[in-house]
Symmetry: C2
Subunit: 211 residues, 2 copies
């Protein structure tokens, strides 16, 4: 099987959103053109992306929408809910704890961790906040493999080491620290400044439109 390009993987969640919207509208089949128009992409790109999932569409008709949703969801590993914990319950962390959208991505944040005694033991957006000293025991107990890191840069590496020791295998890093982890741990950096940079540069007319 050919390797799936990273940009394709990143577009899949957008396709899922369109699929969900159209499903709500009662639509049963969907073409690459439908998705493309909805998102402002070309139909060729969408078609090629969908091709990587191996789904077979019907010429003139398109894809069975239910089936397409299934193959993309399962490609992303979102068919079952993945439990996650979040470390660093500041402004951003609290927001993510309350963010409903993650359900669509198969992500379920079970609880938050922090060192701040004012919030430990409380609930934020319905999620219990525990002390970071309990991280290891809770990760073991809850069998969580994903950690969302929303501490500030200065404690990011230290907290990461704790997460790794606790058995976390994937880290979604919202801090700006370049985390050092063992080879078998996956880190995904979320870089808000990257898209702000694009917006700024586009606004300054240095570029044509697109992307």
């Amino acid at each position: 099987m050919k390797p799936v390009p990273y940009p394709t993987i990143q577009r899949f969640p957008l396709y899922l959103e369109v699929i969900k919207q159209l499903q709500i509208a009662g639509i049963k089949t969907i073409s690459a053109t439908d998705i493309a128009q909805n998102l402002g992409f070309t139909n060729i790109q969408v078609r090629k992306d969908i091709g990587y999932t191996g789904i077979i569409g019907k010429p003139k008709i398109g894809y069975n929408i239910k089936e397409l949703e299934k193959v993309i969801t399962s490609f992303l590993g979102w068919q079952n809910t993945n439990d996650a914990i979040l470390i660093g319950v500041g402004a951003l962390g609290s927001a993510l704890l309350g963010y409903k959208g993650f359900e669509d991505y198969g992500l379920n944040i079970i609880s938050g961790f922090d060192v701040n005694k004012k919030i430990v033991g409380k609930k934020i957006h319905g999620k219990t906040i525990m002390h970071i000293d309990d991280l290891k025991s809770q990760v073991k107990r809850l069998k969580v493999s994903i950690g969302i890191l929303t501490v500030n840069q200065s404690s990011a590496q230290q907290v990461t080491d704790l997460m790794v020791k606790a058995g976390i295998r994937g880290i979604w890093n919202f801090s700006s620290e370049n985390l050092k982890v063992p080879n078998d741990i996956v880190v995904q950096r979320e870089n808000l400044s990257a898209s702000l940079a694009l917006l700024s540069v586009k606004l300054s007319h240095k570029f044509k439109t697109k992307q």
Copy 2:
């Protein structure tokens, strides 16, 4: 002048962060290798990226750190603070209002807008929340050109139309709606699900490491 690749633009903020850290440590010159090691990139990539700014480095020594900061900052248009407003003061919107990191990106969120009467008139993280009916007059008065959109998908297009009418030129879109705007308006979509998708797929072993 050659066009600067988008990925390069997206890496620039990361370089700036390393530069700032090393400046605090009192360092006066910095090489592409220094930055690369700090971020886990190759020195060739960093060197090529820096090359796009036109800065002249000294072989064996590297770049003057102050000067490098300046050329990257100015390339991104971050040398002066850009004022922005934020629309949709829910969980995510509130978090962004309180997010200190934006200062480094030359972004200053002046105020928030919402329709919720419970918060209109109040201050959140020191920023006044106004009613969306006042959007147009405030945008004119404050001469803001950037709008941060953190409403939910169902109202995203409607609010966008209001922003465009009010004179906003660049929209940072945190909703999952594909916004329709006139040609001269720049929209940058922030897609959290994209990096979660990468994390998920990497975790499911479908891929080797990297990126």
